[in-house]
């Protein structure tokens, strides 16, 4: 019996288990998935939890429910990956062998990477919403917060769902308007990049949003430290931005097991071929989702499209065939813009987000790169799709793994 081991039962790992159990011959292959945590979180829901739009129960379920029958599920901590002997060491000196390894250990926040972030104000006036605990603590804070300077801040790139902090700022504007206290809150968006929108097409199409919602912006800000006494964030040229409430996205890093095993880069992301998803160093190791270093967005939709290519490539690999150079960096994301509207963007490694309709040319019903109520419903409906289709590896109708160019407008004029 040959062994395929998946590390991580998050979005990407769970999808791979569901795909492969249907595709690999049961008589030849045993599939095992390892994850130390019992709970599977719907991470896009962390954006809505702070505003009391979603409840705690709506964003978490028991992970085991989504692991298919026929897959061996081990809930244990992963200590070390040993590619030279094709072994994975688990807690309590246990170990498992593999013929093929799929690493889907994701990325997580590392607030300790920034001086002062975990100081006395952490979870009092300083919050993150990229963890369940952080989003919940921020929800409790917002329920009673009386206003002041709210700073929404990105520490450094890359981060999971790069647009989430901007969505947070938009939703905060709506939240405070609804509470009748928008005039008591100043919202500032602070980014290490050169704008809230960094691609020319998006800057043209979307820059009006910041002005419309009265969100101030500070760009090119590389944080050096958080000064808890003065309640300011400070950058390397001593620029200070004061806050009463800091909502920050800490540095995102790959799992510590990647560092312990010496498989990652500076941020513990694994060097991975961007079109095949094979590890650059080890032929029988494949990497998917947030754990890779490929220049795609770290997002669930990307993991979903990757999973389709990776499934084919695993099958090709088991038969000794050449891998498909197929994955194109395709991402497809809803972006909440507040006031019950949302945008939809569709892009890949080479093509910037475009205008047009999705998924059907000229018909839609969803509009790309344009605010609409329909897109907002799409985003809310996505939670159901995630739990009931995406994790189970059921293809989403009419949405292909590679970016389609039908019904899309590539020549974007200003004020389109």
């Amino acid at each position: 019996m040959k062994k395929l081991v998946i590390l991580g039962a998050g979005t990407a790992g769970t999808m791979m288990a569901n795909h492969l159990v249907k595709k690999l011959p049961k008589k030849e292959w045993q599939i095992t998935i390892v994850d130390q945590y019992k709970t599977h979180y719907y991470q896009p829901g962390f954006l809505f939890l702070p505003f009391d739009t979603y409840t705690e129960e709506q964003v978490k379920k028991t992970g085991k429910k989504f692991i298919p029958k026929g897959v061996n599920y081990i809930q244990k901590k992963i200590e070390l990956i040993k590619p030279e002997t094709n072994k994975v060491e688990l807690e309590n000196n246990e170990s498992i062998d593999y013929d093929i390894l799929i690493v889907a250990t994701g990325s997580k926040t590392a607030p300790d990477e920034t001086d002062g972030l975990l100081g006395p104000l952490w979870r009092k006036d300083i919050f993150d919403f990229y963890t369940f605990e952080g989003a919940k603590a921020l929800r409790d804070k917002l329920r009673t917060w009386e206003g002041g300077k709210m700073v929404v801040h990105i520490t450094e790139m890359p981060i999971k769902c790069p647009v989430a902090p901007l969505e947070f700022a938009f939703l905060a504007d709506t939240f405070f308007k609804k509470k009748g206290m928008r005039d008591k809150v100043e919202i500032t968006y602070v980014t290490p990049l050169d704008g809230a929108f960094t691609k020319p097409t998006c800057t043209k199409a979307l820059n009006y949003l910041l002005e419309e919602k009265n969100i101030k912006i500070e760009t090119d800000f590389a944080i050096m430290e958080v000064d808890n006494d003065k309640k300011v964030i400070v950058d390397y040229v001593d620029r200070e931005i004061p806050f009463d409430l800091l909502v920050t996205v800490p540095t995102n890093m790959g799992d510590e097991v990647i560092e312990r095993s010496g498989l990652g880069d500076d941020l513990n992301f694994i060097p991975t071929h961007k079109h095949t998803l094979q590890s650059k160093e080890h032929k029988n190791i494949f990497v998917i989702g947030d754990a890779t270093d490929v220049p795609a967005s770290k997002a669930g939709s990307v993991a979903h499209f990757q999973a389709e290519t990776l499934t084919d490539n695993i099958i090709l690999f088991t038969k000794g065939f050449k891998l498909k150079q197929e994955f194109d960096g395709h991402a497809n994301c809803f972006i909440e813009t507040g006031d019950n509207k949302a945008l939809l963007i569709d892009f890949n490694y080479d093509q910037e987000p475009v205008h047009g309709t999705f998924p059907f040319a000229k018909i839609g019903p969803l509009k790309l790169l344009k605010e609409s109520v329909f897109n907002h419903w799409g985003k809310l409906a996505f939670r159901w799709i995630y739990w009931n289709m995406l994790l189970k590896g059921i293809p989403i109708p009419f949405v292909g793994r590679n970016m389609s160019f039908k019904g899309k407008i590539f020549d974007i004029k200003e004020n389109n």
Partner: protein
Amino acid sequence: MKKLIANREIDVNEEGYLLDFNQWDKEIGTYIANECNVSMTDKHWEVIDYLQDKHHKEEALSIRGIKKSGVINIKEFYNLFPGGPLKISTKIAGIPKPKSCI
């Protein structure tokens, strides 16, 4: 679009970043640097070399990367390319600036 840089027609995007690194040389870099009010020194070129090397290896550019590069510390980086060091230095280097998904 095309832009006349150092008397040559160079392909650039709407923000003036080179689209084809093969069209880049030090003369082009110096011309763009002048446009950004940066006068190039050996230290500047050392940073540009580092950035181009990272880019060709398809490794992401970040302030953290600069910190660990051994070429320069972050304060110096800001001093060499005032305002927005990564966006200015990448433009001079003829490579894309770091981007988000939108």
